[in-house]
Symmetry: C2
């Protein structure tokens, strides 16, 4: 019987091709498997001469350690998952980058996915990440019930929610002061003489949308202004819907003289609508926008620091991973009112 080793499979579906393994390197260098492992991982206890032979074999074969195997044995994947709403939304760019930088500083890679504002897709993604055994999870939730995460949390998957809180479970959350920011923004319009102020926001089921609406109501109440139903419109951020809502508020017999917009996408559409009309309407938007300073008038906004949201969340995540047994906490980051002109226009009537 020939004693060629019997390799169970080398199927066409395999993507490993014929990658060399530590065993192959060991054979070529004439050393034991463990010695190769030591060299690859820079562990001590290898003579320079042995190390040289192993290095030579590694290069000759083009060996690259298979981290899948390593992960299986070590129990840590050195990767974190980030689930957000839409990778293409500029709001999440700095946030993603900040999470990546913190992960990188801890030697971890980032696995990234969009929920498309769909609770089911969020869950699917989160569970796929858990199956990959990411060490931690940063989630901008689309859904409002995260009990599906309970077994994962018990199993030790570090988790931080960002931008919006978790639903029906106790978990760390990092959010902006949506309520206070919106209240300040609307109060700013009131201070400039407005009383009929519209609010155009995102879907009411989204936490940030309802918090900002609450801020709007609070500012109006503080000023003793009764709010009319027709001044508020919540719904999808689709340009068509936002356009109709804006035009409706501006076309009533008693039109609003100012608008507060609930997020960056709404703001962009409202600016377009306002730019087509002759009568000036004041505008304050939640979220800053690139080039906001170059518009005429400049756009006044309530800015949140999306990079700080990501950084804070990721740092918290790694503190959990470093073993600090932390009680779930809610961290709120301040917003900042940036005045550039559009929010300082006086009422047109």
């Amino acid at each position: 019987m020939p004693e060629t080793p019997r390799r169970t499979h080398r199927l066409p579906g395999s993507r490993y091709g014929n990658r060399p393994t530590m065993k192959d390197v060991a054979a070529r260098a004439g050393v034991g498997l463990k010695t190769v492992s030591r060299v690859v991982n820079g562990e001590p206890g290898v003579t320079p001469e042995t190390e040289r032979r192993v290095q030579e074999a590694i290069e000759a074969l083009g060996f690259r350690r298979n981290d899948s195997a390593r992960v299986l044995r070590k129990g840590r994947t050195s990767s974190v998952g980030l689930v957000l709403e839409d990778l293409a939304d500029p709001f999440y760019g700095p946030l993603s980058r900040a999470v990546e930088e913190v992960a990188r500083a801890h030697g971890a890679l980032l696995i990234n996915g969009s929920s498309a504002e769909d609770a089911e897709r969020e869950q699917e993604l989160v569970l796929a990440l858990c199956a990959r055994r990411v060490d931690g999870l940063v989630v901008i939730p689309a859904g409002d019930d995260h009990r599906y995460l309970e077994p994962e949390l018990r199993a030790g998957v570090a988790t931080v929610f960002v931008d919006r809180p978790a639903g029906r479970i106790d978990a760390d959350v990092v959010v902006s002061d949506n309520y206070g920011g919106a209240r300040d923004g609307v109060a700013h319009l009131i201070a400039h003489g407005h009383r009929r102020i519209g609010f155009i926001g995102d879907m009411p089921g989204i936490h940030t949308a309802s918090e900002r609406l609450r801020g709007y109501r609070a500012a109006m109440e503080d000023a003793g202004i009764p709010v009319e139903d027709s001044w508020m419109s919540l719904g999808v951020t689709d340009p068509g819907r936002v356009r109709r809502a804006t035009e409706e508020m501006l076309s009533r017999p008693d039109p609003v003289t100012a608008v507060f917009t609930g997020n960056n996408r709404v703001t962009v559409t409202v600016i377009r609508v306002l730019s087509e009309r002759s009568r000036p309407v004041a505008l304050v938007g939640f979220d800053d926008i690139e080039l906001a300073d170059l518009l005429r008038p400049g756009l006044t906004v309530v800015a949140q620091d999306s990079a700080a949201l990501g950084r804070t969340a990721a740092e918290r995540l790694f503190r959990q991973l470093d073993g600090d047994p932390l009680a779930p906490e809610r961290i709120e980051l301040p917003t900042k009112l940036i005045t550039r002109g559009s929010g300082e226009l006086p009422p047109a009537d």
Copy 2:
């Protein structure tokens, strides 16, 4: 001797906590390991009654399959790596999203990272992704020598370069028509009467930057206009550098009457500089920008379709993975001139 199973390790560093395995599920359901595997993977050949018992055990224990182990055996990770320059750059948002969508359609996750325009960091990231055995790689290269990828390519890692070509290796590449786009944009300025036209671009080592400069030169030559050295400035996209370059071109005795900018970041800074000056200067920018239509004048651009770049690259990647033995190809996507006002301003003198 007690016959408690000897578990080699359950170290504090382990993040798996005490996650149940298929073995645990099998024991609880009173079936073999393979039967659990069948149920988890929806394979046929399990009686409904057995399946029920297994499902019960799965839920009672909170079992979730460990894909790390699966990957090790199967040889495919169902993940693709995307290395780009900066996750926070809005240009890459739609590109990332497009790659994600294609990956998702193929059941794969996306691992994402920024090279920060640093060749070493690019290599480090790419190799980390290869060690994780991603099935494929979409790379927006920072460096210009990718021979370090040769062993990986031989081992069957599908690879597509986007936005810029690979250096010193033969690989698929998907790029925009940078040369033609820039040439058309500059020709547009010439058609509107300009002769002294400045070019402000990114670092000359970056392929897109030099291609666009080449397009600029070609358009000028076609029109018989000798280009002066002082009309061209290439360098980092840092606002300070771009501002100085712009101001210099505008302050000479014979100032340029129009500027062509080499990418979105440069454009933004140049708009700021021009908006501070009284004399109008025409501007055409490479890359479209959100709100470009709302500026006064509207911004004329040479737009590339960044989502199409990502989609095309990812589709090509999965065709490679599906086993088509494809010869490396260069795919060029067209750009589009969008006129909005700034590029149609006549020369000021």
